[in-house]
């Protein structure tokens, strides 16, 4: 009886403590001006993409033959492409796909990289050698080739596309985190954690990881932009979306042919991607600062 009460109490308090850590970090993050702007910007972009059905003036595939390659005007605020499709609407609809893909592929790649890198760095010796050699091989294969392999082996699908995009992130992330851990793993607080009976997983993820994660966060937020453009390449190999479904990367690559005559085709999607990356970078920086107690005011 008392045991269960104690247990209940325990889990309750643990919940409170965990949520308060999360809350605290979030509060600290939004305190920074940069992070505030980032969160607001990303929120605007995400919400308008989600509400594309209501905001977009046209269907993304609707062709207006009276206005091919139209310059931005009152009817088509970002102009139209060679088939008379409204760029503004295509950006809104395309964002749903590109954002989901870019964010989840980067997160997946980074998460896997962090786990493998932590194991390599913390355990060292043979485990490290094996993992790092595998990563050498992995990163020596061009990312596109790996993506083609995945496309052929697993076929189409949203998740397979994420996998194909994430696969290139992993070795970079493993290297980054392992390098950081090499610097950190001789510190005595890890020995102290061992001497007070912390399980290895706890030492790795609770003690070591928070001290090595900063560069990985920065790397991840920087990588999201290239992941989004990379997604366009994937449609060539049968992954990703098929035209005419809009997607940011595809908008860019379609516009490339007309860059001299109709620069607005590439300008607007490019600008939106840049804004998104900026917003995520700002959030990433804010998060990194919020996680570092030394920068706490």
């Amino acid at each position: 009886m008392t045991k269960t009460i104690v247990k209940q109490e325990k889990t309750q308090i643990e919940k409170i403590e965990k949520s308060s850590f999360f809350k605290e970090t979030m509060q600290r993050m939004v305190k920074g001006a940069g992070a505030k702007v980032g969160v607001a910007l990303l929120a605007v972009i995400v919400i308008s993409c989600l509400l594309a059905d209501y905001i977009a003036p046209f269907s993304p595939t609707e062709m207006d033959f009276t206005a091919l390659f139209a310059k931005p005007n009152a009817r088509h605020i970002f102009g139209t492409d060679g088939m008379g499709r409204d760029i503004f609407s295509r950006i809104l609809y395309g964002g749903r796909y590109s954002l989901a893909l870019g964010l989840s592929a980067s997160l997946l790649g980074t998460a896997v990289g962090i786990i493998i890198g932590s194991i390599a760095g913390y355990f060292g010796k043979k485990v490290e050698t094996v993992i790092m050699r595998v990563m050498d091989i992995w990163s020596s294969i061009p990312t596109l080739l790996l993506s083609i392999l995945i496309a052929t082996a697993l076929g189409e699908g949203f998740f397979n596309t994420i996998l194909a995009l994430a696969v290139g992130e992993v070795p970079v992330c493993v290297r980054l985190i392992r390098g950081q851990i090499l610097k950190e793993r001789c510190k005595e607080y890890l020995e102290a954690a061992e001497s007070i009976n912390c399980p290895k997983a706890v030492i790795m993820f609770q003690h070591l990881l928070p001290n090595v994660i900063s560069p990985v966060i920065v790397h991840m937020t920087m990588g999201i932009g290239s992941t989004i453009t990379m997604a366009a390449t994937l449609s060539y190999i049968g992954l990703g979306v098929k035209p005419p479904t809009p997607e940011w990367g595809a908008l860019l690559s379609d516009a490339r042919a007309h860059i001299l005559n109709y620069p607005h085709l590439i300008m607007f999607p490019g600008f939106v991607i840049a804004l998104t990356v900026l917003a995520i970078n700002l959030i990433g920086d804010g998060l990194r600062d919020a996680l570092d107690p030394k920068l706490r005011s």
């Binding site: 104690v6 109490e9 325990k10 308090i13 510190k187 005595e188 607080y189 020995e191 102290a192 954690a193 061992e194 001497s195 007070i196 009976n197 912390c198 003690h207 928070p210 001290n211 996680l291 570092d292 107690p293 030394k294 706490r296």
Partner: protein, 316 residues
């Protein structure tokens, strides 16, 4: 009754590219309940490795470690967990021994939480008590390590080590990175706590004045081996081994009339990698003879006073 800690022929070797590094080689000694054993020697002689091997942070290459008569040299799993709760360590560098991303209250709380023996309310109470015990102000308890000075950080390290009421604590040069004024505070704290809790210390240091102040008995190490062990006072009044003599003669005297008889050592510490069999101090020893190339055994010269030198009676 069995002594608290008994170390028998303990060896810890490391494989390095150049060969085998004899960090701890054939070390035996005992520590009784509530006693302090000082371990002195110059940097790199294996003092810290010895401490870490005894509390099972490193695995022994050979030999035995007995805790209250039980062999703990190779215990694993739950038994190891139980053993570690009885043996703790205080680290040298209070800057790297605390997790910089963890509030100090969490650091002190962690051993209690990890032991899984206490309900939350007891853990919180106990954490407060520990912080009071080592003298960390209530206002500082939610801070991060970088906000504290060296002495306070070391107090946090001490609170963490003593949280589970261990019987044995390895103090790995706990004061050598602190200011002298704070050194005294921390040493006094350690001695007070020993009185209150009856904990035994193995006090690793290269600072002879500290070790004299705090120890009941002293082991002198040279390149992984104990060359002399003796009750603390006797070591200072009657050093036997040539190395101990040289070490003690290096302490500056405050007596202006006393002529300092300094034994100067030639050369450097020889390499601990693949050492020759005989006395490891021989290449630097002013009394060295051919016989020194034979392995030396610790022999009892006076009651409880051992030295590993075959010429000890001649040169004494």
């Amino acid at each position: 009754m069995a002594p608290l800690i008994e170390v028998k022929n303990l060896k810890k070797f490391f494989k390095v590219p150049a060969g085998t590094l004899y960090a701890v080689d054939n070390v035996s000694f005992t520590i009784n309940k509530g006693e302090t054993v000082g371990v002195v020697g110059e940097s790199g002689c294996g003092k810290s490795t010895l401490g870490r091997t005894i509390i099972r942070l490193l695995d022994a290459t050979d030999g035995q470690i007995l805790l209250e008569g039980d062999d703990i040299t190779h215990v694993t799993g739950k038994k190891l967990k139980a053993v570690r709760e009885k043996m703790q360590i205080i680290f040298q560098d209070p800057y790297s021994s605390l997790n910089p991303r963890q509030r100090i209250i969490t650091t002190v709380k962690e051993p209690l939480a990890r032991s899984g023996r206490f309900p939350r309310s007891v853990i919180n109470e106990e954490t407060e008590r520990l912080m009071d015990m080592v003298g960390i102000d209530a206002r500082l308890r939610q801070s991060y390590p970088h906000e504290l000075d060296g002495g306070r950080r070391q107090r946090v390290g001490i609170a963490r080590a003593l949280a589970l009421n261990p019987q044995f604590v390895v103090c790995d040069e706990p004061v050598s990175s602190l200011d002298v004024s704070i050194q005294a505070q921390v040493l006094n704290l350690l001695m007070d706590l020993q009185e209150q809790m009856g904990v035994a210390y193995m006090f690793v240091t290269h600072d002879l004045s500290v070790v004299r102040h705090i120890s009941d008995s002293i082991c002198v190490m040279y390149l992984g081996q104990i060359v002399e062990k003796s009750p603390a006072k006797e070591l200072f009044s009657m050093p036997l081994h040539p190395y101990t003599k040289a070490l003690l003669s290096a302490i500056p005297s405050t007596n202006i009339d006393e002529v300092m008889q300094q034994v100067e050592l030639k050369g450097e510490l020889t390499s601990p990698i693949n050492p020759k069999p005989g006395c490891r101090f021989a290449p630097r020893c002013p009394y060295a003879r051919e016989e020194c190339e034979q392995p030396q055994e610790l022999q009892e010269i006076a009651p409880d006073h051992f030295a590993a030198c075959w010429r000890v009676k001649e040169i004494g």
